[in-house]
Amino acid sequence: MTDAQDPNGEDVELELHLLLESIYRKYHYDFRSYSEASLQRRVRAALVHFGCPTISRLQERVLHEPSIFTELLRYLTVQVSDMFRDPTYFRAIREKVVPYLRTYPSLKLWVAGCSTGEEAYSLAILLSEEGLLEKSLIYATDINPESLRRAEAGIYEVERFVRFSENYRLAGGRGSLSDYYTASYSSAVLDRCLKKHILFSDHSLATDSVFAEVEFVSCRNVLIYFERDLQDRAIGILKDSLSRKGFLGLGMKETLRFSAHADSFHDFSPEDKLYQKL
C-alpha cells in the first residue's frame, strides 16, 4: 500500500466529539450541536495551523495550553461578513420595516452573531439616514471575544470599502458611505456617532438566554451552522427577545419553515427573509 490511509469517518467523528466535549467542560463554549460537516473542515484547518496530526493531539494541547484556545476559537467560529451584505435585505428593512419602527418612542435592536461588526454598523447607518438612530440602541453579540474587540474598534481594511460602497448604494443608501468613515493609509475607521449607539457584548445562542426585549433581531448565516435542535433553541431565544409585532431577519438561505417556532411568526416578507412575531 503506497496510499496514505486517511482515518475513517467514524474515528474522526469520535475525535471531534471528544474535542468539543473537552472545550465545553473546560472553557464553557458549546459547539457540540454545531453542524458537523463544516466544523470538521474548520477543525482540519486548525490542525494544519497548529501542526497537529490528529484532532486528539489538538485536544491535548487545548486542555493543557489555555492560550491555544483563544486562537482555536478563530477557526471554530466563522468570520465572514460585509457591510450591507445582501443589499436587498437592507433595502427591504428600509422600505418595509422602518415604517413600523418609526412608531416606537425608543428602539432596541439586536444583531445576533455580529462577528466583526459590519452588519451592526450597516444597521446604524440605515437608522441614521431614517432619522431613527438617536432613539436607538443596537445590541451586537458574538461568542468570539477577538471578533468583538475588532467590531468595537470599527476599523476595516480600506480596500473592502469598494464592495461596501457598492452594497450601500444597492441597499438604497441616501448619501455616500464615505460620509461615515475616515480613511487613513490602509484602513478606515467608522464614525464615533455610530459606535455610541452600538453595545457589543458576549452572548451565545447555544448556552445563554434572553437578555433584553427588542423590536428587531437580525441573525443571519448563524443558524446554518447549527443542527436542527440548536436551531430551534436559538430561534426560541430570538422569539422570546422580540416584543409583540417585533421583526426577525434571517440569512438569504435560512427559513423558519422547518422550525418548531414557525407558528409564532408571520411571513412578513419571506423573499427578504423578514418575519414578524405574532
Partner: protein, 196 residues
C-alpha cells in the same frame, strides 16, 4: 474498485461547460432514480441563476436548489445555491455554509466532495465534470482514499479540461468516461442496485 460496499449518494461537480454537461447527463435518469445527487456548479457571481429550473426542463428526476438541513432524499438532484458551500452531514442531511471561498469558489466542489468522503466514505460515488480550474481534484482524491467510487469526465470530451486533468494528475486510477457515457453508466448502476 476499492470497496464492494453499496453506494448511497452521488456527488457531482463542474465549472466551465458543466451546465451543458449536466443537461446531457440528467435527462438519462428515470424519475425513480434510486440515489440522491448533490451538485456544485460554479457560476459567475453576477449571474442570477435558476440552475435547478433550467436543468429541470428535460429531466424526469426532481432537481431543486439545496436548502439547509434538508434530508438527502433519493431520486432528487440538489443544486448548491450561489454563494453558499454545500456539504453532506453524517445524519443524512444537507448543510449550507458561508465559510471563505475555496479555489476562489463558493460553492466549492472540494468542500462538497470532502464532506461526502468524511460522512459517507465508501458509500459515495463522486463525479468530476468539465471545468477550467482545479477545484474538485483534492475532494475527489479524498473520496477515492475513503474507499468511494470516483469518475472523471474524459478531458477530451470536456469543454474545459483543466478540472478533470487536475484530478487525474493527483490520482490516475479514477475511472474515466466521455460525457455521453456518464448518464448510461449511472442508469446501469441504478438497474443493478449500486453494487460496485
Amino acid at each position: 474498485m476499492a470497496s464492494a460496499r453499496r453506494r448511497e449518494v452521488i456527488v457531482m461537480g463542474g465549472s466551465a461547460g458543466a451546465v451543458d454537461a449536466l443537461a446531457t447527463i440528467l435527462p438519462s435518469l428515470p424519475a425513480d432514480f434510486s440515489l440522491p445527487i448533490a451538485t456544485v456548479v460554479h457560476l459567475p457571481p453576477d449571474r442570477v441563476s435558476d440552475l435547478a429550473g433550467a436543468l429541470s426542463y428535460r429531466s424526469a428526476v426532481r432537481i431543486k436548489e439545496a436548502e439547509d438541513k434538508e434530508p438527502l432524499t433519493p431520486g432528487c438532484v440538489f443544486v448548491a445555491p450561489p454563494n453558499y458551500h454545500l456539504l453532506l452531514e453524517r445524519s443524512g442531511h444537507l448543510s449550507l455554509a458561508v465559510d471563505d471561498p475555496v479555489h476562489f469558489s463558493r460553492p466549492s466542489i472540494d468542500v462538497l466532495f470532502e464532506s461526502a468522503a468524511l460522512a459517507y466514505g465508501p458509500r459515495v460515488l463522486g463525479i468530476l465534470l468539465t471545468g477550467a480550474n482545479e477545484d474538485g481534484a483534492s475532494g475527489l482524491l479524498a473520496i477515492h482514499r475513503a474507499g468511494g467510487q470516483t469518475l472523471v469526465q474524459s478531458p477530451e470530451s470536456a469543454v474545459a479540461s483543466a478540472m478533470p486533468s487536475s484530478a487525474l494528475l493527483l490520482e490516475p486510477r479514477h475511472d474515466v468516461l466521455p460525457l455521453e457515457e456518464i448518464g448510461p453508466f449511472l442508469l446501469q448502476l441504478h438497474r443493478t442496485g449500486w453494487e460496485a
